[in-house]
């Protein structure tokens, strides 16, 4: 049992669990993830605004995206960072939280075309901002 536990711990370290220091590489990867979530949210919002989606799908999928952005935001707000990038890491955390809140709006109003239309530009802007942080 102890051996299995030790192997698990080694595997977790080797595969990069989410609790380590945020370095340049991790910042780039996480910024790309925030941009990805925001872009996907924008695609969904666009479809909802055109009546091209269904209410259950929009409600469930926007929640998945929102939760993922929220988890990322929490992790980025707490984790230690490499010298010189802390400001960008915290900025990315706030950006992820903003994306999470916007997607939460879609989750709460999955059939409201007006709400969906109003979320498209903010999500695009958030994706662009995250994209800049990944460069």
């Amino acid at each position: 049992m102890k051996r299995a536990f030790a192997l698990g711990a080694v595997a977790a370290v080797l595969t990069g669990c989410n609790g380590g220091t945020v370095d340049d590489h991790a910042l780039k990867r996480d910024a790309e993830k925030v941009a990805s979530l925001a872009t996907e949210g924008e695609l969904l919002a666009n479809d909802v605004s055109k009546g091209a989606s269904t209410t259950p799908f929009a409600r469930v999928h926007s929640k998945e995206l929102s939760q993922s952005a929220s988890d990322l935001s929490d992790a980025l707000a707490q984790r230690p960072t490499s010298p010189g990038i802390e400001r960008d890491v915290r900025k990315l955390s706030r950006l992820a939280a903003r994306v999470s809140r916007q997607l939460e709006q879609l989750h709460l109003h999955p059939s409201d075309r007006g709400v969906a239309a109003s979320l498209k530009q903010p999500l695009t802007d958030a994706a662009d901002a995250a994209d800049k942080l990944s460069k």
């Binding site: 595969t15 695609l43 469930v60």
Partner: protein, 407 residues
Amino acid sequence: MKIFNIALGILAAIGGFVDIGDLVFNVSAGATFGYQLLWVVVIGVVGIIVYSEMCGRVAAVSGKAVFDAVRERLGFRTSLAALISAQVVNLMTLAAEIGGVAICLQLLSGLPYRWLILLAGIALGVIVWVTSFDWIERIFGYGGLCLLVFAVAAVKLHPTWSAVAHGFVPHMETESPLLYAYFAIGLLGAAMTPYEVYFYSSGGVEEQWGPKDLGLNKANAMIGYGLGGFLSFALMIVGGSLFLEKGIQPEFLGSITLGAEVPLGQIGLLLALVGILFAVGGASIDTLFAGAYNLAQYLGWEWGRYRHPSGAPRFTLTWLVLLVLGLGAVMTGVDPVQLTEYAVIFSAVALPLTYVPILLVANDRAYMREYANGRLANVFGLVYLVVIMIVAVTAIPLMILTNVGQN
């Protein structure tokens, strides 16, 4: 009515090729490398056709399925390793597929996920108990054909067809060769995942194939797995045309269906969800039966869905226990998509334990008489054995080095 006779191949292929993990794996491969990995799908499809045809032939000629052959050729003790590895991977995959059914139902209905896991488990149990093998094949195999909506979506997304064609030629244009290798190995492992052949060969025995059905076996293997490969192409093209273009890393089943919704609207979304529901439901049944077949064949029990449950009580009890275990595992809250990605990689490690005995038995003239492998089948069989060995040896190191494909 002849068209209905290839339902076994279609169900085995759709359940095996486009289960929840493969859906995400194929679209992620497209979203990461565009069309560059299409050639790997071709290699995987040919490989699974070669070996499925072999084990279907063994089933038709000898009336014995893969695990009977494994036990006879490797002996009771040595084949225990094959049994354990197969059952562990089967159970992981089964849990993931039950979770996948629940996610699909949730995306369709909006109801709470945990209740839908229970509903999915109970529904699968009832369907398997009351429905004949033939009708299970037809319902899930042909229902899964709704996934062809991804082929329409791929066309509607207007990919650069010259780039798609270039994807069928092995090449690598990336700064992440390890990630490229991880996806290539994962796609091969997913295409040749062992439970497909366990299910397929046992299905041949269930349908009481004999030497006269060898043509049907070939048609099942080629059309069924060819179709599975075609769907894989479509999913990868959707990944390359939509998600790579926009910088999206698809992680959820909902992301995949967005690939049909964006170009085709509501109807695309609904067809994709229904197709995935049947494909993942079919994969649940494939893995459920494969687990019960393996144990029953290994221990020499009466087995078969064509029998009344009371005619094969230990077989029936085995699939019921597996269903409860799978249900319990997914109820712990494990992410089905991640679980099945691990299952794909672990099954890659176990590939030789499945495919080496098949090749040995298919060559055994005492066993197969005039239906033993010819030269062409052996050339393909040996080439793929080398491929399988490479996949088995490199799968785990690549998974660790690439952080399970997260790089």
